[in-house]
Symmetry: C2
Subunit: 525 residues, 2 copies
Amino acid sequence: MHLTGELLIGGESRMGTNGEIKGVNPATGDTLEPAFGGATKADVEQAAALAAEAFGPYRSLPYETRATFLEAIAEHIEAIGDDLIVRVMAETGLPRARLEGERARTTGQLRLFASVLRDGGFLEARIDPALPDRKPLPRPDLRLRNVPLGPVAVFGASNFPLAFSVAGGDTASALAAGCPVIVKAHPAHPGTSELVGRAIQAAVASVGLHPGVFSMIHDSGYEVSQALVADPRVKAAGFTGSRRGGLALAAIAQGRPEPIPFYAEMSSINPVILLPAALKARAEKIAPDFVAALTLGAGQFCTNPGLILAIDGPELDAFVTAAGQAVAAAPASVMLTPGICKAFAHGVAALAEDPQVTTVARGQTGQGHTGQAGLFSVAASAFLANPHLHEEVFGAASLVVRCADQAELAAVIDALEGQLTIALHLEDGDHAIAGALLPALELKAGRILINGFGTGVEVAHAMVHGGPFPATSDAKATSVGTLAIARFLRPVSYQNLPEALLPAELRTDNPLGIARRVDGKMKLG
Amino acid sequence: MHLTGELLIGGESRMGTNGEIKGVNPATGDTLEPAFGGATKADVEQAAALAAEAFGPYRSLPYETRATFLEAIAEHIEAIGDDLIVRVMAETGLPRARLEGERARTTGQLRLFASVLRDGGFLEARIDPALPDRKPLPRPDLRLRNVPLGPVAVFGASNFPLAFSVAGGDTASALAAGCPVIVKAHPAHPGTSELVGRAIQAAVASVGLHPGVFSMIHDSGYEVSQALVADPRVKAAGFTGSRRGGLALAAIAQGRPEPIPFYAEMSSINPVILLPAALKARAEKIAPDFVAALTLGAGQFCTNPGLILAIDGPELDAFVTAAGQAVAAAPASVMLTPGICKAFAHGVAALAEDPQVTTVARGQTGQGHTGQAGLFSVAASAFLANPHLHEEVFGAASLVVRCADQAELAAVIDALEGQLTIALHLEDGDHAIAGALLPALELKAGRILINGFGTGVEVAHAMVHGGPFPATSDAKATSVGTLAIARFLRPVSYQNLPEALLPAELRTDNPLGIARRVDGKMKLG
């Protein structure tokens, strides 16, 4: 493994000249070598120009070639071997097993999008054959398919240095859609980013693509990110991060002369609702599972269970007691960055100092940039009256909201902002209340899950990792799973095109053998 | 036919108290009775509150009931009989045949969405069955379907008083999606709006729905529209109108505490590209067809051909001469409103006075609020240098851009803003140049059509009536055709739900018999 600290602009690499960024080992506080050069606006310009140049040839490749490219990226990432895991561990403090799993998720996700390209369903092909004899007017021949939007900016996330970063879900889905990608690497893991970025560069070269298909820049401030979103050649962006950062970039995306879609995943407290029969049957069984989910990865998941909702009573007391014991035993965990650790400490302190909030338990303390887990409780009336209690505290902190009855539980649900996930813990005896709550839950979250926690986000066809504002900036989109490709596509209709000019997916003889909607009826390929 | 001038709020009607609006017969200039009362912000509040209340029961109806409701609206519109046509003629100056066709389009569109509901494809159902034995971790059961967003605001368009107004495409697709609708009637046809609005009210009653499913308000200013888009209970909006109006409302939609999707169709000049072999073979045949499309409905179509692009030479001269003759013979046409007529006259005067623009021909003049068709020409170099020449002149005016060669034609295409449609006129000998241009055209328009004009917008499964900014505010959406329903839906994922709690479309036994994607493979119902 040799890290240069360079920007990757198209097929080239060169040292950035706009300040320097160094990784920090959050476990030790040590600064990591080498220094990474920050990008200038001129670097953004060049990356965007190359991406625009690459877009035409890249999108016109056969889908099979695009699939091969995604698989080549996966292979090149695997070929880095253990050096990658070692560097990510150093930059993030995350444990080996988690990172090996995350690497498998990352390469699996690339290969899944290769299968999406071969299936062809993402094209949403539709054909309405001509009806020349229709009265009063003939119907023209109409055919529809999705086309890619253009170059996409991807902002690497701090908390998934592989699966939501340089070759993560946003990049995989944008490349699958036919869009060149410019990644703004997260400054918390620049070395990881260079390793993965060079793997993508190598895949671009090995498949023989236009080198503008991929670029990666470093930056630790705001201006370069803003310039990237504002560049007229960039046609969409994917972001995972803070609500403030997401909203600032979204405003730029919307304020451009040509506004573009900006897909930000920002903020979610992922309510967990414990229904009466479940609490009665297994409060003490749910509690340790909850605390395991809460403290997993130092609580640094977008889907971390930050809120527990239940009807007050002795069963809830039993749950809180058991969960408190588990939290008290939870070891301190190294957090991703000193900044995240500090923000977590502030957020937890604000909860602890709130006169209406009871501190149920705090976890073990530790050395360095570690987070101390926290469990708190509050009456629903106070939760309803204090919007700040609805805000995300990023890390292993959760708030139990004690509701007087089912009506107050429903009122709390109605008062929630949009969420990525809502979990229900239930037994058969809870079906009536669950059925009554479900319509409201569907309007608040992108994913509803039973007897579990949101922290496992399966990369699948039926996954939605998204949700109403502020969970994301676009509730119609998902950033995990095969449907994520739809963010970077738009439909085009072709009227009366000669067969010779039609794209393969719309030719009458269906040479790609894909499923299409013909005259309104779905037909398999 | 008895018009009261009242607002329709849920199942009630009452006279608005915020000023009054009267229709004007643009053919005669006569004011039409009765006066329609303008809505207050309190009326908006009440309509929104009723819509929010109706949303839960409405979205939980069986899809078959929703389909029946759409069909009932169509029947109630037909039951108005000729009174409807007579009133629309008086308010718009549009001829009977056009309006009878537009009525059929409107009822046909409602019935098409009924068939969409029965087909179930709009739900985008996906099932990834559990894999309990998968290593290293089991896969949960994941199922996905689309759910409606919530109450939708619809802004009636001036130029399609039936098909894009109270019961038009936006309303039909929103109601099909499961969203209650609040229509802001266009002040140019308030009587038409009341007739159609009462037909919807009658359908709501006859099917026994919650009356909040539909409301309609009148207003001729901005404040009430702004209040409607800003209301927290409104979750999406559909708009057809001016670029300025669309952008102003879009900014409100994005600036809300909870931003919402705002689907605005705003501005398009719909380039028509005449390729060399086609020009050579039939310049004089294309010309009258073009002028017929240009002057249809006084040029008041979103898809009116406002721009002709071709390579300069004697064949283009022949086309321009023939088209000029046809324009010169074109009778003056009554325009929709005095305001639209005045704006058209201003736009045409600006073209005529531009020193770089040649006036090829003007049509016949007429009395009252009539538009005089206009054909102009300009060198591509001047077109490229003057962005104001790219702006829409709403009405029967078109500009021929003379390109020196294929490279300059390509440069003009690259310089265009986003469009609803681009038409290519071609012969077999033009396939090479058409094939070379197509990738660029796909990035500029929502629909590409061959040997025709964009003015016929088929209501079909494969239609896209949309396109990149500023044609619309969201290039991923269409406002015509069955795909329009997707604007008002978002996906929700269900993890490990017991069968008893799953919606019918996701139950394992597929009781609705719909097509679903199972484990990534499309399966017919």
